[in-house]
Amino acid sequence: MKASKQFFFLIASILLVRVYAEAAPSMAFGYLYNKSGDQNFEYLETIFPNSFANSIKNIFDVTVMKPTQVNKRLEKFKSKLKTEYKGYELAQVAQRASADFFIYGSFTPLPNDRIQILLHLYQTGSNRIFSFSNVGTMETEIFKLVDRITMILVNFLGSDNLYRSALITPKSRLGIITNLTGRDLNELYFSFFDKGYSISAVQGNSVRNNVDMKDINKFFYMTSDNSSYDIITDPNRVVFPYGTWAGQQHTDKVNYLKKMYAYYDRDYLQTKKQLVQKLVKESKNSMNTLLVIGFNKNKSKAWVRCLDIDSNDIVWMQANISGSSISSICAKMITEMNAKIKSPFDK
């Protein structure tokens, strides 16, 4: 009897683990805030997230929660969905909604019946946020726009975290920042030269490259005007204690750190924009596209971030690009750079 009971519990546990392991991820949708201030557009604040939820459910094995359902879950915590969030507030709302992902955003109606949608994707426990924007026509194309944005989300949730919003053709003038050096760097340059790209001497003007694998990984997170994949900073966790014991030295140190935080975190986008523009100028306009490519230790896998300098927008992000050599990894990159941006909804 005892043995059969133990056997029953064992089977039940296995089944439970199996069900848990195979459970579809849950995705909670917040509002899409109406940035125009025009009340005529307010109905879209819930219509858009509902449409995204339906669209993503059609092509992706996922449990979706629309804003009404999310609000019901939040009620238990005497809370409700807000239209705007600070990055550090996302962990709590996603946890209270018991969701693996939390998606929210905003929209801005533009002239000529166009609309710009800005979406943010937060994955529970990641402390990272992915944001992007897309523009479409209001009435005729609204469902195409929803499908297009859904595809961006689905692609980014794939194993290679793909995001691409533009072609990067051989007409582009590339500036490359990487952790390769010497002959390996030549091999990388050669792959791009071979397909007709021109390459700026940025980083290639040194005999040795000081940027190693650990350093290049700091570029894995990138911010631009309309899209970004970045670390969430929680200013509440940064405590600067004061007391009667605090002398001038302590005050100076705290002020310095506050200044550092403001300059390198809060205002980083503006600071970086100015520096990249200066770099382009000093490089005699030899680049209009900045590619950051990080290779692993064995050079068998790479990730890439691509910034269109003129529009200050991230146009391509991809991870886990693998190959047997630097050339084969670059060949895959070049194929992706020139591939048409596909949608399963296109006929």
Partner: protein, 192 residues
């Protein structure tokens, strides 16, 4: 018994082929030239070798007719010593350990990223100064290796700041410094 022996030979042969293929791909020769760099052009050569070898390298370029400007390669290394990217890592790590500001991860990463951009700006400004001061048109970078390894070279047009020539050259048993440099000069002068 014979079957096992022949099976072992096949496995060994396959392993050898795989090893040779992998080794060859590591030492692949590559050459790209956007346009030739003709003799009598003003160039600056940077090669990280002891002075006596540096002299041999420079003499080969002079013999081939290039107008080699007296540019001390050590200048660029002095610059990298001053603006070494790794210096920033030490500062960042020290501050992190000191205050345990876990939420300032983004700040530390951003400091480093901005430093990389600044470092590249400094190098570009310096190369522009070299071009203006000594009327240097091309910067040639060389890295020499022992036989069985790969020597590489790269040339930058300082007017456009573009890379216009590069080569990876696996050295042969018969090669010495002169033959390697002569080979580079030949492909640089004639292009593809």
């Amino acid at each position: 018994m014979t079957a096992i022996k022949s099976k072992n030979i096949i496995i060994l042969s396959l392993a050898c082929i795989l090893f040779i293929t992998a080794a060859c791909s590591q030492k692949k020769a590559i050459l790209y030239s956007k346009r030739p760099i003709p003799p009598f052009t003003a160039i600056a050569v940077i090669v990280d070798t002891p002075n006596k070898i540096k002299n041999v390298v420079l003499s080969r370029f002079l013999t081939s007719g290039y107008n080699v400007k007296a540019f001390a390669a050590s200048d660029l290394y002095a610059l990298s010593d001053v603006y070494d990217v790794r210096d920033l890592k030490k500062i960042a790590n020290k501050t992190t350990g000191d205050l345990a500001l876990v939420s300032m991860e983004k700040t530390y990463n951003n400091i480093f990223k901005l430093h990389v951009y600044n470092y590249e700006i400094n190098k570009a400004e310096m190369l522009d100064e070299i071009k203006a001061k000594w009327n240097v048109q091309y910067l040639v970078l060389l890295d020499l290796q022992d036989w069985q390894k790969v020597c590489w070279a790269r040339a930058i047009d300082l007017n456009t700041y573009e890379i216009i020539w590069l080569e990876n050259y696996p050295t042969k048993y018969v090669d010495n410094i002169e033959t390697v440099i002569d080979h580079f000069i030949q492909t640089m002068t004639k292009g593809k």
